[in-house]
């Protein structure tokens, strides 16, 4: 699996898309920094969890290339699919925790207040 910096490319692409959709006014540099943080944390996950996240990430990315990343993201964030639903949950949890700890004045749409 190829990497973008320390972040696996599949996870980076998903996290970028998810954060851009959730927090449309988050500045690009903040979003990139957040995605890098998510990648670092995915990189130190315990072996089996990391393997699972990277495998799901690769599957989601491939599906995204075929039917469109936006559509795949919508499906897996809305449907309570076991295991699969944990992927956006993990990315969101890490991302939101980083954003509000680093820039606590962030608005709910990502704008800085």
């Amino acid at each position: 699996m190829s990497d973008t910096g320390s972040t696996p490319r599949t996870v980076a692409r998903f996290a970028e898309g998810l954060l851009a959709a959730d927090l449309p006014l988050l500045a690009d540099d903040r979003r990139h920094e957040t995605v890098e943080f998510i990648g670092r944390r995915v990189g130190v996950l315990p072996s089996i969890t990391r393997f699972g996240v990277l495998a799901i990430g690769a599957g989601v990315d491939t599906a995204g290339m075929i039917v469109g990343h936006h559509r795949v993201r919508r499906v897996i964030t809305r449907l309570p699919l076991p295991l699969l639903a944990e992927y956006p949950r993990l990315v969101r949890s890490l991302g939101y925790a980083y954003i509000w700890e680093t820039w606590p004045d962030t608005d709910v749409n990502g704008a800085s207040r």
């Binding site: 670092r40 315990p46 949950r89 949890s93 939101y96 925790a97 954003i99 962030t106």
Partner: protein, 482 residues
């Protein structure tokens, strides 16, 4: 190829947390040549902000993102630094309940386990760690819990902590008396050595005897091999790593099969005024329904507030901007479920699973509902429970709706209390070690950490871990001296 660096010692102690540090101090003071190996780094108290992501990077295993798989999965955290969990935890001190000690003694056939002896050791620990209540003002988040419980007429207490305070100082001015400030310096003063950033990979064995240890030393991403020769090895890697180490050593009898935890569910509560103290937690706990259900306060950094709202971000998200007015609380339960820790050949980290029973799931729901009630009584404007599709709770009617919608499988369940993966006792059908931590079937492999507690104690466990570790270390000294 470079040769591995080699060390010799009488006793190798793996891990420097609540179990390892106390063991090292007792043994070094009795004249044993002690070497401690610690996978994490030495991080000075105060050099990271408590409960921050930076602290999680530096002092937690896997940045704090570790999970026991199940339905639901349970997120857990382990300290990974000199001093282990004692460096990062909330410092809330509870003696083990006498009834629990008595139950363990009979059920697991633990020899020489008089509760009065253990409570005497607790008294020593309390003095060494300066266990005390807050001399000055409590935080608002603490007062909320007390106020809500008082209005309901529910029992609540301030829990003392291992903290020192300037005279009359408030809750946030305490200095945590963790192992790097107490038992580790005591061990060093008597000649013990520590190798930080050294991970024990494997203990080599010949029949009943462990013969040596293979470690990896990592600095700035560069790794090198290290070996250690010893007379005895005492494994104190915590309740997840200890069983994995034993299993990698080929020791599997009752090892890693009975992980016990205190599962918790959370909520965030919003008040009229600022109540958030990011770097501290509530020192009050509500014990009206103890031991089955207890309530307490969690760390409430803005990042953690955002995290607590993610389960229903669509409805809760807008509250994040009001994070100074929000604080996070938990309901913890005693669990009848059990988990497994399994080392998998060729894989670095163990697989951890946990299964909640139906009774556990029901208790989590009851706990969350009662905790929300405490918050409403304390004057919360809005309560945001941490489970998927949860409603915002503003009054008792919403509480009923919340209760009907709750399912443990939708909740963000987590724990920081991990025990019982190498239970002690002479009953070999139930226990991995004898009554003093010697692993069954070996002559010189001991366990002396949270893994030994036969069950989760129903209260914050560090005092139980320390008291039992000191008891066993003293016994070791008596036997090895003879």
């Amino acid at each position: 190829m470079t040769r591995a660096v080699h060390h010799d010692c009488d006793v190798l102690i793996v891990g420097s947390g609540a179990g390892g540090a106390t063991t090292a101090a007792v043994l070094a003071e009795a004249g044993h040549d002690v070497l401690i190996v610690e996978e994490g780094s030495w991080v000075e108290q105060g050099s990271t902000v408590p409960f921050s992501l930076d602290q999680m990077d530096k002092q937690y295993r896997s940045g704090g993102v570790t999970v026991a798989l199940g339905l639901p999965s349970i997120a857990y955290t382990e300290g990974r630094c000199a001093g282990g969990g004692t460096e990062v935890n909330s410092g809330l001190y509870w003696r083990p309940p006498e009834a629990t000690l008595e139950l363990w003694r009979t059920k697991y056939q633990i020899r020489d386990f008089a509760s009065s002896d253990l409570l005497d050791i607790c008294a020593e620990v309390e003095s060494e760690l300066s266990v005390q209540k807050v001399p000055g003002e409590h935080t608002d988040a603490s007062d909320i819990l007390r106020r809500g419980a008082d209005r309901l007429g529910w029992r609540n207490d301030e829990i003392p902590r291992w903290m020192t305070y300037p005279e009359g100082a408030g809750a946030t001015e305490g200095q945590r008396q963790s192992m790097t400030r107490t038992y580790l310096p005591r061990a060093f003063a008597s000649g013990a050595r520590i190798l930080c950033d050294h991970r024990l990979d494997k203990i080599t064995r010949s029949g009943r005897r462990a013969t040596g240890a293979e470690l990896t030393h990592t600095v700035d991403g560069e790794s090198s091999a290290v070996t250690v020769a010893f007379r005895d090895v005492i494994v104190c890697g915590g309740a997840i790593q200890t069983p994995a180490i034993l299993q990698r050593t080929g020791l599997r009898h009752r090892v890693g099969r009975t992980l016990a935890v205190h599962p918790t569910v959370k909520l965030a509560a919003r008040f009229d005024d600022p109540v958030n103290t990011p770097e501290d937690v509530s020192v009050f706990q509500v014990k009206q329904f103890a031991p089955n259900i207890s309530f307490g306060g969690s760390a409430s950094h803005p990042g953690l507030v955002a995290l607590a709202l993610t389960d229903n971000w669509r409805d809760f998200g807008s509250a994040v901007t009001a994070w100074p007015e929000l604080a996070i609380y938990y309901a913890a339960i005693t669990s009848e479920g059990r988990g497994l820790v399994q080392a998998i050949p060729g894989v670095r980290d163990p697989l951890v699973t946990y299964r909640l029973t139906k009774r556990d799931r029901d208790l989590l729901g009851q706990g969350l509902a009662r905790l929300a009630m405490v918050m409403l009584e304390a004057g919360a404007e809005e309560v945001y429970p941490s489970f998927k599709q949860a409603p915002i709770v503003r009054d008792r009617a919403d509480l009923a709706t919340m209760t009907s919608m709750f399912a443990a499988s939708k909740a963000s369940v987590m724990t920081v209390h991990l025990c019982s993966t190498a239970p002690m006792g002479d009953d070999e059908r139930r226990c991995a070690t004898d009554s003093h931590g010697l692993v069954h079937g070996t002559d010189n492999v001991f366990v002396n950490d949270a893994a030994l507690l036969p069950e989760a104690p129903g209260v914050n466990p560090q005092a139980s871990v320390m008291a039992i570790a000191i008891r066993n270390a003293r016994r070791y000294c008596d036997e090895r001296a003879g």
